[in-house]
Amino acid sequence: MDNHIDDLIADYLADTLDPATRQDFERRLAADPDLAARIELETSLIDALGASPENHLRSTLRSIAGQYETPESLSSVEGNTPLSKGRIWWFFTGFLVLIGAVALLILRQQEEPAPSIPPTLQQESPTTTPGAPTEDLPKTNDSQPNNSPRPSRPVAADFRPIQNLETYIGSQVRSGDFRLYVEEPRSGVTFRAGRMNFRLSGKTEGAIPAGQTFHTMLFSNDLKDFEAMRPVENLALALKPDARFLLEKNLVLQPGLYYIIIEEEQSGAWLFVDKFLVK
């Protein structure tokens, strides 16, 4: 293309052509696919390389990504977030629980063998039963008689945690307009394997945007299922007018490590993450 057309293109893109010339140019553009392709390419170049909201976003993303040079840095930077206080408390609590669990398992170790069972949830009943009597709840005390096979080695060793989730446990994940508090199940509870009425109850505080809905996902500790977002159970969480919630479901639990995630349906933001064991 000659200099004249180069100048015309530059002026057209800079929007400095007078109306008559612009009209002529656009007529030419409509009849000449090569010229149209060139204008399209030059416009794309300006969009891609000039100042744009995308490039502002890229600049922010680059600066955030710069904090994470190695996989390990993800957890070290995270330690500086406001969540870290809660996490420290949880590490401490977890440490105490671990000592107790190890002592208990040492006592049990010599008793009976157990198969290695991948954690799964079996649905006992397809319906939730709001308001069902709580007397049906299994006791979570390990001293209760247990009909399921007992492990021949420390159970916890088989229940490998999902590291990406562990860092969120024990914290109210999302801060903002509202918060969600889970009262039941208790944090870190151990359920007895077998049939149970799973209950999730608690309350919300703050202003919940209209139309906002929540769901509860139960994941096993299978990392692949978590990455593919395949929960073993996905239940809608309905809020009552008094801002409380109660979800009940009859389930058959097999031994394993499970995670509870309460998520905002619309955004996918996690509001609550916790785990429980089934032995």
Partner: protein, 192 residues
């Protein structure tokens, strides 16, 4: 729309939260498919830019959990890279997950095209890069000329030469033809 809003508004704290929460998951997936942490960071950034464009459309509604959506896009981007580089076979867990519809696919190809432009732009000499960047940022010609100590005519000529070089680099790359054919196909596909 907590995360989506954070991306659209370029909110650094929310973007940081997205990195902390989802980048490790993506890294886990990529690692099993021959990817490095650096690959994961690059793919993750591209996926966030795609979300930015896709979610900016009027009437956008998220129909899946955010994690599935973001990681689905990331998977698609990584899958394309693997195919292009023919680095290895893709394992089944990388291919499953969130379905990428045509509209989203279009955004991904457009993002790929912009990346190709950036890559070629970076191959230009420093003078050309500086000059073109100012033109692309729509700085007035006279201002550029005055600032760089050149005449306006010289700046205009230099701009033409640099732009021609850039376009030549882009058009001679086989990826450009492949990406634009995807975009054209997508544009001309009938809506069902």
């Amino acid at each position: 729309m907590y995360f989506i809003r954070g991306i659209l508004n370029n909110e650094a704290p929310v973007l940081g939260e997205i990195y902390r929460k989802f980048l490790p998951v993506l890294f886990g997936m990529l690692r099993r498919n021959g990817g490095t942490f650096e690959d994961a960071r690059d793919v993750f950034q591209e996926a966030l830019v795609v979300v930015f464009h896709h979610a900016a459309r009027p009437g956008f509604q998220l129909t899946a959990p955010f994690q599935s959506y973001l990681l689905g896009i990331s998977r698609f981007i990584w899958f394309r890279q693997l195919k292009k580089n023919a680095r290895m076979e893709v394992t089944s867990d990388l291919e499953e997950g969130f379905d990428i519809d045509e509209d989203l696919e279009q955004k991904i190809f457009e993002s790929e095209k912009r990346n190709l432009f950036r890559e070629k732009f970076d191959r230009l000499g420093p003078d050309c890069r500086q000059l073109l960047q100012r033109f692309f940022d729509r700085e007035p010609l006279l201002h550029i000329a005055e600032d760089m100590g050149y005449t306006a005519d010289y700046v205009k000529k230099k701009n033409k030469v640099c732009k021609a070089k850039l376009m030549e680099l882009i058009q001679n790359d086989p990826r450009f033809g492949e990406i634009t054919s995807h975009i054209r196909l997508s544009k001309t596909s009938p809506d069902f």
